[in-house]
Symmetry: C2
Subunit: 413 residues, 2 copies
Amino acid sequence: MNRSTEHDAANQEAFERLTTANPVLTDVAPAIDVVPGMTKNTVLTSGPPLPWEAYEGGQRDAIIGGALFEGLAGNAEEAAEGFASGELKVDGCHDYGCVGSLAGIYTASMPVFVVRNETHGTVGYCNMYEGKSPKRLNYGVYDEDVREQLQFIGDKVAPTIGAATRALGGIPLKPIMSRALHMGDELHSRNTAASLLFARELMPAFLDLADVPRSDVRDTMEILTEDHYFFLRLSMAAAKAIADAAHGVENSSIVTAMCFSCAEFGIRVSGLGDEWIRGPHASVQAKLFDGHTEDEISWMGGESPITETVGLGGFAQAAAFPLQAYQGGDPQAMVDRNLKLYDITQGENPDFHIPFLKYRGTPTGIDVFKVVQTGILPMMDIGIAGKGGGQIGAGTVRAPMECFEAAVAKFGG
Amino acid sequence: MNRSTEHDAANQEAFERLTTANPVLTDVAPAIDVVPGMTKNTVLTSGPPLPWEAYEGGQRDAIIGGALFEGLAGNAEEAAEGFASGELKVDGCHDYGCVGSLAGIYTASMPVFVVRNETHGTVGYCNMYEGKSPKRLNYGVYDEDVREQLQFIGDKVAPTIGAATRALGGIPLKPIMSRALHMGDELHSRNTAASLLFARELMPAFLDLADVPRSDVRDTMEILTEDHYFFLRLSMAAAKAIADAAHGVENSSIVTAMCFSCAEFGIRVSGLGDEWIRGPHASVQAKLFDGHTEDEISWMGGESPITETVGLGGFAQAAAFPLQAYQGGDPQAMVDRNLKLYDITQGENPDFHIPFLKYRGTPTGIDVFKVVQTGILPMMDIGIAGKGGGQIGAGTVRAPMECFEAAVAKFGG
């Protein structure tokens, strides 16, 4: 198992693409209008795609919930039959330029952020944060409350942000992301500053939006800044637009996507085509909300590790000491873990810096060879779902070694 | 030199007051309308008060600039004559409930933040940030540009924020300050997050201000968030309202103010009345802007160390690693210095926490006995003025031991 000089040059090319990408929010629109290949009867979900029958637990519930929300079926049984017969289609977000938070449900009418990488032309999409209720569709829950909240996002929040975004001629995201890393965010499990900075960008437009009711603007301001998560979806869409630019470099052993479904973890590698290299679930260290226990932890999908793929999240943990209160851990342990990730990455990010590490750039561009050689596994910050649905905590996970070993093997390593 | 148990109980009382104070911004208004004792021909400046003749350099220029801005004299010579004859009055900010940033010039028409400590009824005032130009009245410069900017603040920014503040029924500042410490601020030399959070509080009111031109709102949004300093004046006014609540506790050896003029440093101690205990200048470690040298460093006053007096600024430096880029220093040195300050303070702040120190409360309530016993001097983060006027850098300073030794002596120590 040896990397060749061909890998070195290819990985440097992939790294250059990862770090010169320039993600700009250009629009907010229903998925059907902007996501290539989206159809009215498609539901997108997180992770390397599985046959319908293989989706289980909260992820299955979430997919069915998506169908119900979209009016594709009258009840859960009808929806399940529709997916089984092929009348309704379930597919993986990534192949549509989308990335899913937790179960990551996209349906035709759901609004998505459109983030264009102005340097390379790649486009990433992400649907919108549902709000701070632990009951959310992307955490496997669908009921009247969840439906109303999704409707509120679609009817009020998305059009308001969309109108402001268009009025401003688009919003460059990298400056917001760079600054947020100096303000306690790592842009995966903590987006507090980025959400505020994003709200700040929108404010001048909000003052002038003639066609949007003032109450919608006020409601949108509220959800934008009510907790630590609103900007995550923009961070994810930006990361997808960045990572896709680095995909498809011949011989490159740099990871361009990491995600999971209810059944397995998967990675994509720049020089290994669009195939998902699959392995078992990640290992988790969790801090659960009061009243919850470890045996409730449930995998229902997640593609937010696209942020780690581009040098954020777990790869910027030492920028976000406040996370210890939310997902557990100790500041010095956060620093130590973050430092080790330099051993498995191609380089230091020129735009994403960690103040505590004397503004060292975040470790960026995971090399599957380095992971196997060092035994150091990529670390990700994630929200944790419970078996009954809903968020029950947060924590860090380590990607499974099997995926990286399999990738190395595919390079003939 | 021994502290008695009387000091212990008194210091605990002062500490309780420091930490239970609840500063709320209630208004923005011209100094003449709200500052007790302010008169039309008074100019307030930073530091233990001096006779007019003793003010020199940038501080003298700033006082004269204040008189010119207020129309109290036709030119600098007239102004100087006015102060010499007593026709114009110069006095210290602190005795009016005000605190001055750098030279700290207050005149009758200048708008001030009114911050009321709802727990104890004390009120702190601070005038407004002039903007990011290095040329500012409070840095000893007065010319047409400075005059126009002061006019802009008085005519546009202050009325807009005042109207929004009144519409909101006041803005509690402690929640903003507590959150900002988790977002890279220490609320003296870095107020980036606090300024954004404050703007966020104003925004709902901004949407509805019928009597304020939209362009004023837009201009105000801009200056609120253009750099790292806007909130400092609110942090200072809040700190003054907090510190004054802890002043006047019999036998308490807790510091309730630290400030300096062009000539000397001074402290007030809770149990030692309103007298300033004066000493030589602080010692400085500076990082100067490009093109400036150490021999340009000039003292022209400063009362922003009121923030350190209540457990912020240098006493919260380990919450603000991004400061290293601005004022120099090394993250580990920032942590080490911050930790030492626990040895000279009464307790840990219950509301101001440092994420990197596992959310330990900031060291709060400087005890003059502990300073003398340990030899550890209070550390302050400050902006640095140049001899020609204007800001030429930033850095940390240490208060002079002489003040603390003199205070201990006054207690019969």
